[in-house]
Symmetry: C2
Amino acid sequence: MKEQMMKTSIELFGNKGFRSTSIQDIVEANGATKGTFYYYFKNKEGVLVQIHESFIDHLLNGQEQIMQNKQSTNHEKLYQIVETLIRNIRSNGNSAMVFFREMRHLSDEKTAAILPKRQLFQENIQKVIEDGILMNEFRQDLRTDMLSYAVLGIANWSYFWYEPDGEVKENELTDIYMSMIFKGIEGE
Amino acid sequence: MKEQMMKTSIELFGNKGFRSTSIQDIVEANGATKGTFYYYFKNKEGVLVQIHESFIDHLLNGQEQIMQNKQSTNHEKLYQIVETLIRNIRSNGNSAMVFFREMRHLSDEKTAAILPKRQLFQENIQKVIEDGILMNEFRQDLRTDMLSYAVLGIANWSYFWYEPDGEVKENELTDIYMSMIFKGIEGE
């Protein structure tokens, strides 16, 4: 029921907005009682926090697995991290949009609990680039923090326009992105 | 007064959200009357539309000037377009955020009036890349539409995290981005 309530809330927040959605709306959409709601969530803000925590935890888990693989080059790891973000649009794209739009409704305290996780995701990308520089896989003349934001920007912006069921498949999109990131558009 | 009302509305929409801001709030923040408001805007939605139209028109004008310069290579044009987006964060970053978050409050009709302008901005980037391929400035094996989204993603994502008064200046950020886009992080 908790998962179901979060799923319905993503739809409601997405359509009506966070402020205009009431706990009663969430309860009714699930054929549940307010008692059930309060069993799982402290308040409406709590739902928003959990939607995003579940979103970012899922991505961080995937990233950790990629990073811990001792067989992979950093080149491969960076590819796989971007691939994870692109593949995640199909299943969790709406959740990302809701959080992004509604984040300002969270108290500083709640936001503070989530930001370190977002930051960790970025820092992990930066670490892969830095490890790749040490291994002579990547050039060393560009700031790795700014590069990590560039890579994140390409992948995250896709949440705003990319249609996973359209003409370009996830693996093709990832290939194009990574070819640009690794080799540049000037080519050899 | 119109410009001033738009400026105040960007702040109000940014802080309180579009739905929770009343026309009365906008009027009071400007020491104006509702009559003045309705002289300039049809309704609250009209303010949101004009905020974004003014934002995108400004960027499109800059882009057109860059594209019409017959002295520039496509390499230079692409650099300058990204530079325009990065430099614009300082003056118009809040306007971009407000529009992005509140866009779902616009009717389909209003959105339809704005989307072609956003699309034109992307298509112009794609055209610069395609012209660059014809001139042998860029490699021809990657889909130019996807590349234009990648370039836009890097620049647009910066609106979410970049602090123009921080350690990294606009020109340095643009240099890092464009070096990655042109040459890739593997380098020579």
